[in-house]
């Protein structure tokens, strides 16, 4: 008797986790988008050690694991402690009505994506336009995403409330693909917070994707807080398109999680835009945090500012790869990039790679990258004034991070992040 044994590939094994999900709720055009993504996947492979884009971050240990589709409810209570009127909570990618609360505001749509899919035209028009079709984790999200947030600020609307989105990975081995869409119509403005939390110990994997359309003269501030358990994996793809005279700021605050990978891609589609890309990473243990950013200056007279800082303690690893691409037509571009890292131990490391590709001649671009230790001279100066060693280190680390903290435009969040910094470095050796 002949027995055909077909070895399942690592990719198929991984994708089989999602075979159980019922996506029948999706109608056109969302159904077709899923199908397209699924078809693309059949020709894609996971990155290997030879893949440049993933040079410092190995995904092997992440895709090898067994996962389960997590519960849609929490088994234990969690204190979200969110001081805002509008907060949508998702558990393992599913909307939790119980934990969410909203206060409707004229001119703002704020609802689960699943609900918006039932007939929201602006969503249908834009959905999946910005995701990177050749990137495997984005494509997995497009094929198998569950729920997420839909936010839409209508023309001229200046949001009064801060809009909060919390994704919780709950239960050991939980895997989820949260998916968000943010649309800012002409002249609107809003501030949002996206937070990733874990409700339990043990490993988990969140593969999230958010698309941001920032319309003409609109202004959006996004604050991302990554605060997962020490064994959690998180891949986050943020895709933004900015129209003429718009402003977009994104602050990525990476606090905890075993492996955090952030891909931030920004397309400047109109002139006179301004963009801020900020990253504050506080690494400990064996954490690995990788930031890849890419901004395309496709039009003239745009300004982009990029500031990423990492403090790497213990045996942690940080990666920064920031690419600025200035197209030939994009004259009078101003692009500033800065990456500064502080390495507190011999085992910690940060890899930094700025990449500037400039094809216009009348531009101002700068980049700087520094990685160093605590300034011993400054430390002695503080101590010689009676400030104890621990406190002196905390003072210096705080000073190092202060400009990034200042970038957070939501006061209670700024205080929250400051408190994390104070707590984290009050006991530094």
């Amino acid at each position: 008797m002949l027995e055909a044994t077909v070895e399942m590939s690592q990719k198929d094994k991984f994708l089989s986790h999602f075979g159980m999900i019922d996506f029948s709720f999706d109608k056109s055009p969302f159904k077709e988008k899923r199908k397209e993504a699924e078809d693309r996947l059949s020709n894609m492979e996971f990155p290997t050690s030879k893949t440049e884009y993933w040079k410092y971050t190995r995904v092997n240990k992440l895709i090898r694991q067994e996962y389960i589709l997590g519960e849609q409810e929490l088994s234990s209570e969690i204190d979200l402690g969110v001081p805002t009127e509008n907060c949508l909570v998702f558990i393992n990618g599913y909307y939790s009505e119980e934990l969410s609360w909203t206060k409707s505001e004229e001119g703002i749509d704020f609802m689960p994506l699943s609900k918006a899919k039932e007939g929201n035209q602006p969503l249908a028009d834009r959905f999946d336009q910005l995701s990177k079709k050749e990137e495997i984790f984005s494509t997995i999200n497009s094929a198998y995403h569950q729920d997420g947030v839909f936010f839409h600020a209508k023309k001229g609307k200046l949001a009064e409330s801060v809009y909060y989105v919390i994704n919780i990975s709950a239960g050991e081995k939980a895997i989820s693909n949260p998916r968000n869409m943010v649309i800012m119509d002409e002249g609107s403005s809003a501030k949002m917070i996206f937070k990733n939390l874990s409700a339990s110990e043990g490993y988990s994997f969140t593969n999230q994707l958010t698309e941001y359309f920032v319309g003409r003269n609109a202004n959006l501030e996004v604050n991302k807080i990554e605060s997962e358990s020490d064994e959690a994996f998180l891949i986050s793809n943020d895709e933004c398109q900015q129209d003429e005279s718009s402003q977009f700021k994104i602050n990525t605050i990476s606090l905890s999680g075993a492996l955090l990978r952030n891909n931030l891609n920004i397309d400047l589609n109109g002139s006179h835009t301004e963009t801020w890309m900020n990253g504050l990473s506080l690494l400990h243990g064996k954490q690995h945090v990788d930031h890849h950013t890419l901004i395309h200056h496709r039009e003239p007279d745009c300004v982009s500012h990029e500031l990423y800082k990492t403090i790497a303690d213990d045996a942690s690893t940080g990666v920064f790869n920031g690419k600025v691409y200035v197209h030939p037509i994009a004259q009078k571009t101003n692009a500033y990039q800065s990456n500064a890292n502080m390495v507190l131990t011999d085992e910690a490391a940060v890899y930094s790679k700025p990449e500037l590709e400039i094809y216009a001649d009348d531009v101002k671009c700068s980049h700087g990258s520094t990685t160093g230790q605590l300034d011993e001279e400054a430390l002695f100066y503080l101590r010689s004034r009676g400030i104890g060693q621990k406190k002196a280190i905390a003072v210096l680390l705080n000073a190092f991070l202060s400009d990034l903290v200042e970038h957070i435009g939501v006061e209670h969040l700024r205080e929250e992040v400051q408190a994390v910094i104070d707590e984290k470095y009050s006991g530094v050796k």
Binding site: R383, S384, R385, G386, I387, G388, F400
Partner: protein, 251 residues
Amino acid sequence: MLKIKNLHASIEDNEILKGINLEVKPGEVHAIMGPNGSGKSTLSSVLAGRDEYEVTEGSVEFLGQDLLDMEAEDRARAGVFLAFQYPVEIPGVSNINFLKTAINEAREKKGLEPMPAKEFLSRVKEKAKLVGLEGKFNNRSVNEGFSGGEKKRNEIFQMAMLEPKLAILDETDSGLDIDALKVVADGVNKLKSPDNATIVITHYQRLLDYIIPDYVHVLSNGKIVKTGGKELALELEERGYDWIKEEAVNA
């Protein structure tokens, strides 16, 4: 107050201090002069507690305590203050927060509550006036972008705020114009009391016209080779150091 006995110190196996003896009593002003590289800054660094220097021999007693056994921050809290020859720039730390932290850390260690904001601010105002800084630098980062003279004034301002028992001024006068020099000297003189003492390290006799020393010591090649009254400074200004080096060799 301060008793230095046969102090030897080295850095990276180079012996820099080769047996210093010096006693400073409350209320006294001592000037230390000497050629470049003779070890003046090394002595002040060792007294302030910089870790890079290894003390290989000798002892230092400060107010009855073994100074060498204390961490730099504890020495400061006990009342030792060093005005740096090269004050350090600390971007991102405001001058005012720096001082507040320093004062409150010292108070905390003594079991005291933080200094009330009002008291702190009025002290800042009063002391800034003393050195002619009048709130100018409060919100700027410590020494960042300060001119050479401003940095030196800031050292004296900090000294005034912290009210040390023993102040060591390492070439606080270099880089100052004559007006700034007067301001700094004035500041130091106003802070003088029968209970505290000052060590002034300088190359220039002109500072000693304003801060009158009780003793002048000459440090050469890691040793104090001559001690005299304030007239010794004048003599050094006229004759240089060579005659003393010779005396020391012949002795």
